[in-house]
Chain length 394, copies 2
């Protein structure tokens, strides 16, 4: 019979989608250019040109049987090797091809990583504020999700609260740095403290605790900084990457898991992902997309617009009196709403055609998310709308 579990999910509408749908309707009335849509985390700059060039070259010069042929279930070997080489070059790691499993972007990477290191009944911890899709990603494996409340002063880790919920059933923690929705980048200090804490708990519980590190925003970091590479700080790390954000290929559904070379089970975890795929129906990303990937492994889109927008918004909003942790990367910021009920605040914002997302869905009430992956001129024009909104609270 029709599976009630999934039927019931149809009733639960996504707040972000609803806001986006409202914006689309409103655009029909007043023109899209007059709707200040900060709702969706959709890259606003094109993919590096080399990607399309490479695809055209492959289609023009190579045998279609090879280009469109079956990929081995772990990914095309030359592509896995190229991914390992790129990570080693950029982060001084020691990955080999055997540590890399090609995935259909981050959702698939996380789905496989979780199933590698947890079984139903285990607990998995993540840290607020977090991407709301972690709930189905984690709970649908049969694992139990526990959430550490946000450290709203810095959006680093609230270690005290973390320690309160940590227990021996916890087999994995999911982190996301640079972070959606806060834009915060975990500092080297945070990662060192996290690693030391987890290593102590591994000793105490006599089992590994894996970090599943969701890193789609790894290359979108401001001030010329680099995000500390999580797997360098903690050996039991499964790095989950997506090419959706930094090279603007969200529709191509491509990413990977990089299994820490010193990880417990390093020699089997990628292979196990191939077995997990058989049960959940993935079988690799598109072969054509895989084969084109090496052309852009060390590249990004021109990401400068995100930093420009952040600078404009951070200055303007804090000048207007908003409290906000300055984002270190991504294309999000997560200011405190001007009233305790962020949903009410975001509703008021709609009056000025500002589409903002309440923080409740990220399990961090009282804040709102802005996805500023929109044209800079629109960001600038939106400031007047913010001023009007602020006036309501004075």
């Amino acid at each position: 019979m029709i599976a009630k579990e999934f039927l019931d999910m149809l009733g639960q509408k996504s707040v972000i989608r609803e806001i986006f749908a409202y914006g689309s309707e409103r655009a029909k009335e007043i023109g899209y250019e007059n709707v200040f849509d900060y709702s969706l985390g959709n890259p606003s700059v094109p993919a590096p040109k080399e990607f399309a060039d490479k695809i055209i070259e492959l289609l023009t010069n190579e045998d279609p049987m090879t280009i469109h042929g079956y990929s081995p279930s772990l990914g095309i070997p030359s592509v896995r090797q190229a991914v390992a080489d790129s990570l080693n070059r950029r982060f001084q790691m020691n990955y080999t091809m055997e540590h890399i499993f090609m995935t259909s972007a981050a959702a698939s990477a996380i789905a496989h990583a979780l199933r590698c290191v947890t079984v139903p009944g285990d607990e998995v911890i993540t840290f607020a504020p977090y991407f709301s899709e972690y709930v189905p990603y984690i709970t649908k494996t049969g694992a139990k999700l526990k959430v550490v409340p946000a450290d709203t002063e810095s959006f680093q880790i609230n270690f005290e609260a973390f320690d309160e919920i940590m227990n021996e059933k916890v087999m994995a923690i999911v982190i996301n740095t640079p972070n959606n929705p806060s834009g915060s980048v975990y500092s080297e200090e945070t990662l060192k403290k996290l690693a030391a804490y987890l290593e102590e708990k591994e000793q105490q519980y006599s089992h590994p605790i894996y970090i599943i590190s969701d890193e789609p925003y790894r290359e979108i970091v401001f001030n010329g900084d680099k995000a500390p590479y999580v797997a360098k700080y903690y050996k039991n790390t499964l790095t989950c990457y997506s090419f959706s954000k930094s090279v603007s290929l969200p529709g191509e559904r491509i990413g990977y898991i990089a299994v820490g070379p010193e990880c417990e089970g390093a020699e089997v975890l990628a292979d196990m992902c191939g077995q997990i795929s058989r049960g959940i129906g993935h079988n690799c990303p598109s072969s054509l997309i895989q084969l084109a990937l090496p052309s852009i492994l060390d590249k990004t889109s021109d990401l400068s617009v995100y930093e420009t927008n952040k600078n404009i918004l951070y200055k303007a909003l804090t000048d207007m009196g908003f409290e906000c942790v300055e984002p270190g990367g991504t294309f999000y910021m997560f200011p405190r709403a001007l009233e305790p009920d962020a949903k009410a605040f975001c509703n008021k914002a709609l009056k000025y055609d500002l589409l903002l997302v309440p923080g409740d869905g990220f399990e961090c009430a009282g804040h709102f998310r802005m996805a500023y992956c929109i044209p800079t001129e629109k960001v600038e024009r939106s400031l007047t709308a913010f001023e009007k909104l602020v006036k309501e609270y004075k």
Copy 2:
């Protein structure tokens, strides 16, 4: 901790993969042209040229933000509509866009379809001989797989044996016509009998019993015939399609579920697939590949080589004394081995560099599978090797 369930799967080697690996090693010794590799069901003819042309056109003329942008989780609307239109045109159906869910080929289609209409503990029936991946596809949902023994006279359905294992816990049956490994096409008579039988059982048990119809070989049918379209015969049909075989795009991982328009739950099942994806980590096939798909929806590769090879092999092997049900389609045939132990038979075949797959893995002992998607000249040269093999049994 590392999930033992998947770790243990690593030890279970695929017989087909082992034979293929043996062949690759042997090719190094005697040259690839001298290894008669009938082991893998990999298309041997290129995709229709229109596909590459369309991709190049998209990359050259369209906005990269659109081409590589997020697809809605059910698939790109224009592509879903094109799939529905093509099915309606070719099979006189009444699909709308709402019945179509785009998938990462058949594996993903089956993974979603099963989760739509079964819950852990339910039973799912399939019919021997069957594609061995049905075991993980079905059992990893938590459902219990039951197998109806083969009707080796015709490779249609053994209804007597089917009736013996049918019971009220059965929520879905998985069929595969044209069939891997037998090449048989279910006749109109078989499908009518199956539909009548299931309708009676639905009445008796007061719940729907869905046909999950795995149809990657639908267009590979011989003698100018057409495979009867399963969903025309039974309303509760979830048609699972893959573009891997008929248009030779196995690496692109693209297919769909078409939910029968009169199906119980027709209005929610595709939507439910979008929810199921969130838990198992799919999010659509590649946007570029989706957008290029309409260019080839009513086309196939030049499939004539498969029929040519079938004709040569069927005549030669039956002349040599093999018993074989003549394939009506696909690029497989499934003759009876010359000794009861098909594994022993296939091992003897290796002496003559014939790579054949024992039927045991398809739960039909005593037979062997030949995937004749190889060049015709190689098929012809292989006949001498078969003659030598037959001589051993005289």
